[in-house]
């Protein structure tokens, strides 16, 4: 395999370049996936049936905590990639660990939020609005969960195999994924929560 040493590790082979571009295209598909969920949400937002409306169930505190957690984790994974490019294995792993912990905390708050919704009578089966809301949030949450596993496995691989073209490539792609989840959260935060509470 040809390794081009003038480039950062994650771009150093042809295969790595392919993977990064392929992942960007996957992100394009993910944009459409979430756009469809948003479409469903915006269409159904006022169709609350006998259930509560968004303004009745949304709480600003957990949402704000989630936003800060995810924003910070997006920052730390960015630092992780920066450290990786400086070839600092320990620092890279450190930032990865911080990111995963922040992600886990985010997930914890989200689970609290979901139980809260069910508690106040906004469960999945209550109305079209709650179905669309919980499915949109749930899809994002599911992505975060998968991301946590994925990030954890990459962490193990960096620890075991060091910063090689493969692990660097995986880490970079993981960082793209994680930043993308943050972007989606920004839209959820703005157009589901803030718009709903406006």
């Amino acid at each position: 395999m040809k390794v081009d040493n003038s480039l950062p590790l994650e771009y150093s082979t042809e295969e790595n370049n392919l993977k990064i571009l392929g992942f960007w295209i996957f992100i394009g598909a993910e944009i459409m996936l979430f756009a469809t969920l948003f479409t469903a949400y915006f269409t159904l937002v006022n169709r609350t049936g006998n259930g509560p409306t968004g303004a009745e169930i949304f709480e600003i505190t957990p949402v704000l905590i989630e936003t800060i957690l995810l924003l910070t984790s997006s920052f730390t994974i960015g630092l992780g990639i920066h450290a990786m490019r400086l070839n600092k294995k320990k620092a890279t792993m450190g930032f990865f660990i911080v990111t995963l912990i922040l992600g886990l905390a985010f997930l914890g708050v989200e689970i609290y939020e979901f139980t809260h919704y069910v508690h106040v009578g906004a469960g999945l089966q209550v109305s079209a609005f709650t179905a669309a809301l919980l499915t949109t949030l749930g899809t994002h949450g599911l992505h975060v969960t998968l991301g946590l596993f994925w990030g954890f496995f990459i962490l193990l691989q960096i620890k075991k195999r060091g910063l090689t073209p493969e692990t660097a490539n995986k880490s970079f792609i993981f960082s793209l994924y994680w930043h993308f989840l943050d972007i989606i959260w920004i839209f959820i935060f703005s157009f589901i929560y803030l718009k709903g509470m406006m």
Binding site: V45, N46, R47, T48, G49, N50, T53
Partner: protein, 308 residues
């Protein structure tokens, strides 16, 4: 071999055109009301225009095929390399654009026509009829006359009619080809269809949207009559028809097929149509009662289904 095929194709074209223009006119192209007339005119216009395009394409194709087939060319002929020509391509884009612009104008104009009170009847008060479908029947409620019919429709000629469509169950589509195009009837909202008949007659009406096992027979008969005859019918119904009770209506909307029947009173009084906005809070109370109502029907429907 090739010639034979051409003859077969030619005979086919002739057969088709005779059927198209033949003895019995096709329902859609035999309009009995202003809306259907607009649509039939649009259809005929587009058929001629499109036929023109097909003929042009066919002519060019036959010409190049005959002229440039290998057996008509010298053995050593080497076809030239031609990248394209801006003028030719501009024409190939320009003419279709002009056709599309023309058809767009026609289309938009007709859109607004078929969505408004039929042309020529704007000054008249429309007759409002609620047409609701249930598996696999049509219920017609005349709130003005306080009459309800099942699977048949009497309408006065020369009067605009505003159909309010909704469904107890799957999406259906209310269609009387000779009076005008169709529109969906759905369970959670009302759609409006403007029609009018400008002559008396009997017309076929049906549900055009697939709605399950009994879909094929989901038809109704439409009779347009003079206002006097219509008035007579209304009076006759009031004298002879039984009153539509809630129990009777529950029975009627159970899945299955029924013949024609007539009642005084409409189901609109005890089973209000879905004329509300799901979101706004001021209608929430009304909505609640309605949803419960719905649930009752639904559970019955489900039972009925599983019994089958």
């Amino acid at each position: 071999m090739k010639l034979k095929m051409k003859w077969i194709l030619l005979t086919m074209v002739i057969t088709i055109s005779t059927v198209l223009t033949g003895c019995e006119p096709l329902l859609v192209l035999d309009p009995k009301g202003p809306q259907a007339k607009t649509q039939a005119d649009d259809i005929m216009l587009s058929i001629w225009l499109m036929l023109g395009i097909v003929v042009v394409v066919l002519a060019i194709l036959v010409f190049v095929l005959l002229k440039y087939r290998a057996s008509n060319q010298p053995k050593d002929y080497e076809p030239p390399h031609i990248e394209g020509n801006h003028l030719v391509e501009a024409i190939c884009v320009g003419i279709p654009i002009l056709i599309v612009i023309f058809l767009s104008i026609v289309s938009v104009k007709s859109n607004y026509e078929v969505e408004a009170t039929p042309a020529g009847y704007e000054d008249q008060e429309p007759l409002i009829i609620y047409a609701s479908s249930s598996n696999w029947k049509w219920h017609f409620s005349y709130p003005e006359e306080n009459i309800e019919t099942v699977n048949y429709l009497y309408i006065p000629e020369d009067r605009p009619i505003e159909f309010k469509l909704y469904s107890y169950g799957p999406i259906t589509s209310f269609w009387i080809p000779q009076l005008g195009g169709q529109k969906y009837a759905m369970s959670d909202m009302i759609t409006t269809l403007h029609l009018a008949a400008d002559q008396p007659g009997e017309f076929m009406g049906r549900n055009a949207n697939f709605s399950g096992a009994g879909f094929a027979e989901n038809t109704f008969e439409v009779t347009a009559m003079t206002p006097a005859e219509y008035q007579e019918w209304v009076e006759e119904v009031h004298e002879t028809a039984p009153r539509l009770t809630e129990e009777k209506f529950e029975e009627l909307i159970e899945p299955g097929h029924l013949g024609r029947s007539t009642y005084t009173g409409t189901h609109l009084e005890f089973a209000p149509p879905p004329e509300h906005d799901h979101g706004s809070s001021d209608t929430e109370v009304e909505e609640d009662s309605h949803s419960e109502d719905h649930e009752k029907h639904d559970s019955q429907d489900t039972n009925e289904h599983s019994n089958h």
